[in-house]
Amino acid sequence: MNYPIWVVPYLGGPWVIGIMAIIHIFISHFAVGGGAFLALAEELAYKRKDDRIYQYLKDHSRFFVLVTTVAGAATGVGIWFTISLVSPDGTGSLIQIFTLAWALEYLFFAAELATAFVYYYTWDRIDKAAHLKIARLYFIFSCFTLVIINGIITFMLTPGKWTQNHNWFDGFFNETYWPSLLIRLSIMFAIAGMYALVTSSRIKDPEFRTYMVRFCAKWLLPVFILGPILSLWYLHEVPQATIDTIFTGIQTSGVGNFSILARAVYLSLVLSGTVILFAFFGPYLNPRGFTFRIAILFMICGLAVTGTTEWMRELLRKPYVIYDYMYSNGIRKAEIDKISQTGFLQQGKWASGLAQGQDNPTARGEIVFKYQCMSCHTEKGYRAMQKMLGERDRDSIQSFLQMLKEHDKDKNPYLGIMPPLAANDDEIKDLAAYLSTLNQKNKVTPAANICLPAL
């Protein structure tokens, strides 16, 4: 309500973040796990004095540098761009709380990139022991970037004592910090293995290819063994209200008998299981039959797992952007009561600026819709209001909206996944008037036949 809302028709703003984030995560996890892979594989080459592994690593490291330093860095900036466009209040809060942590991450990132370039450009130019040392240093610095960003990401779901004392340290080292760090590390090793399978599958010598494919497949082992235990630990630390939503959730927020969150969890588990079984029966047990095409298929599966897992993690946090502090629509929890009394369109710089001089109820309703609903819904596309409202008329929409305003979970079953509606009674009427125009059937009725003014 403080900023203008960037309207992304059909797709919705959150998916713009989602697309950028999934690509970035799949690459940045490779940047960290791949560092461990390069260091350990080079150690192997060093101990065995195996030039074939060295030659493979030289080729693989070019691929590594091209993917991580270019696409990894650019999509990382891309995440900042997208989150500030879609959720400026949330981004502004995170930046204000963790400015110096981010500044610190930059230092490690600078060290990581400089080391990556020195590593790549000094192949055959420095002695093997010195080069191995650079590889190890790269891995250490890339891990430090994870150590920092993990604190900020987990803070959003479990801000811990920060909500009471606003101390960065309490927010940073929160309840899910350690399980999340370890899960991410094990996933990073798995992703590094998957990328390395792609380059290994192109080795010409069949005997060496078999050897390397098997070596790469082993990188999926940590997540196979530790993944379930770490996930349970992680879920144990997640707020109880969120766990309740997974299993009991709002059935109407999905289609069928499971809540949308439960389905995200199951999908993530099924896909992860598939990848691990695939790795075991494929490259591990039958490395000879492993080809480049299978490796690409494997990568697609890996991307799907990353996508669904991150989607699940985002859903876990609903309806907040910072748990118990700020809702996904940028309204702070502490503001809700005041807004409900005084009216939403009086609060917030941009919401009130846009409402100023606007007497048309439908137009005022549209402003409320943009600010309170569009952080998750679109008019006609993803989570479309048109589809969700169905044939409801203005009155039934209004009574539905009145329910969304309730703070009591017994009266408002949507409370666990949607922010309470922060509006006074007149604004709820306006919002109902606007939402009823989304249904074509309602549009032709005289009561709602009001042209939408351009905003």
Partner: protein
């Protein structure tokens, strides 16, 4: 202007982690460290493309070799520019978020497209190296490399243009509401802004000058190995620097005229600090021009170093002026000095210690790289002597 139509978002109700003046210093220094490599890639792309085109018929010509050296170095500069960009982006969001987030949203589509252009141009910089410059030479290949570099440079120039759009749009809160009422989809570009074009050209031409200086630095680096080529690079780099800096005189004047008169007056002396910084940068420009002209005549390394240092200082002073312009524009609307401060001493100390450690580490890495390449060159030389 009706004050009711000026809508400026509030800061978050949270304290800053350090005093605003300290964060401002980090913003300006961070932008400086970003601007240096950014200028090298922006100007360097165009210059490398031109040099490769001019020297396309002879791979042993200095022109071709200069172009190749510059083109080959670009990916590392691009990486540094992106990494160093994090710092100013972070502190800009913190200090001027209310203005910067709003203007970014108003031009959201173009703003986000920067990531696409960046990926496109960054990969082109590698394609030029691996597909053309490292392959066996042919005039056709050299021409293609020149063309791809030109496309790459245009991509970076477009990114710069979009940044100029946002950096000027964030200075004009009075425009925002009406822009958003016209389109909430983030389709706006600030092309009606009088200072946009001169400001952008000022930056673009400056990048050509910086690329010239970079070429001269390459000359300094290889001086012991190949004096003649080094002198060529010093002279060529200084010529490029001179040509671009002379062009800056009318463009700079145009830029100064394009901003509101009361701001122009501040830079011309009405405001002591603004005027002093501006005056110092003008004096240093004179020094840099004279020194560079001397390099063109006698390839003197001392003169080149003088021009180089003067230029590095000019960029810093211009960046301070740029920041002052922002302060004046936003003074009535965005007041970071009024945000409460709760200094996170623990993190601040960790940050400062880590920053020092990073500098030490980068020096260590540079030593390794320089030694690695020096050894390699000696090896190549001795191998060459043996085969002779």
């Amino acid at each position: 202007m009706d004050i009711q139509s000026v809508v400026v978002p509030s800061y978050q109700p949270l304290p800053f982690p350090a005093p605003a003046w300290f964060l401002q210093v980090l913003l300006v220094l961070g932008f400086y460290l970003h601007a240096l490599p950014m200028n090298v890639i922006l100007g360097g792309g165009f210059i490398a493309s031109a040099l490769l085109f001019l020297g396309r018929n002879d791979k042993s010509s200095y022109t071709y070799r200069c172009g190749k050296a510059l083109a080959t170095s670009l990916p590392i500069f691009i990486s540094f520019a992106i990494t160093q960009g994090i710092v100013p982006l972070l502190f800009l969001q913190l200090l001027y978020g209310p203005a910067f987030y709003t203007s970014s949203i108003l031009m959201g589509i173009a703003w986000l497209s920067i990531i696409g252009f960046l990926l496109f141009s960054y990969y082109l910089s590698y394609i030029v190296i691996y597909k053309y410059l490292k392959k066996e030479y042919s005039p056709a290949r050299a021409s293609k490399a020149s063309l791809i570099l030109l496309v790459m440079a245009c991509g970076f120039a477009l990114i710069g243009f979009l940044f100029s759009n946002n950096m000027t749009l964030m200075l004009s809160p009075a425009k925002w509401l009406s822009i958003y009422k016209t389109s909430p989809f983030g389709t706006y570009l600030n092309i009606n802004e009088p200072q946009l074009l001169p400001r952008y050209l000022h930056m673009l031409v400056a990048s050509i000058a910086v690329a010239g200086m970079t070429l001269g630095c390459f000359g300094l680096y290889i001086k012991k190995r190949n004096l003649e080529f080094a002198q060529y690079m010093l002279k060529m780099g200084s010529k490029i620097f001179l040509a671009a800096t002379v062009m800056q005189l009318p463009i700079g004047f145009w830029f100064l005229k394009s901003i509101p008169i009361e701001m122009t007056q501040k830079f011309l002396g009405k405001d002591l600090i603004c005027g002093s910084v501006f005056g110092a940068s003008m004096l240093l420009t004179l020094v840099a021009i004279i020194a560079a002209a001397m390099v063109v005549v006698n390839a003197s390394t001392t003169s080149f170093k003088t021009a180089l240092i003067a230029n590095a200082l000019i960029i810093l002073l211009m960046i301070i002026n740029r920041h002052q312009l922002r302060l004046h524009y936003l003074a009535p609307y965005v007041k970071p000095d009024l945000v409460p401060v709760n200094t996170q001493w623990d993190l601040l100390i960790v940050f400062i210690v880590s920053a020092v450690a990073l500098i030490a580490y980068l020096i260590y890495l540079s030593k390794i790289s320089i030694r690695a390449y020096a050894q390699n060159n000696t090896q190549i030389k001795s191998e060459g002597a043996e085969s002779e």
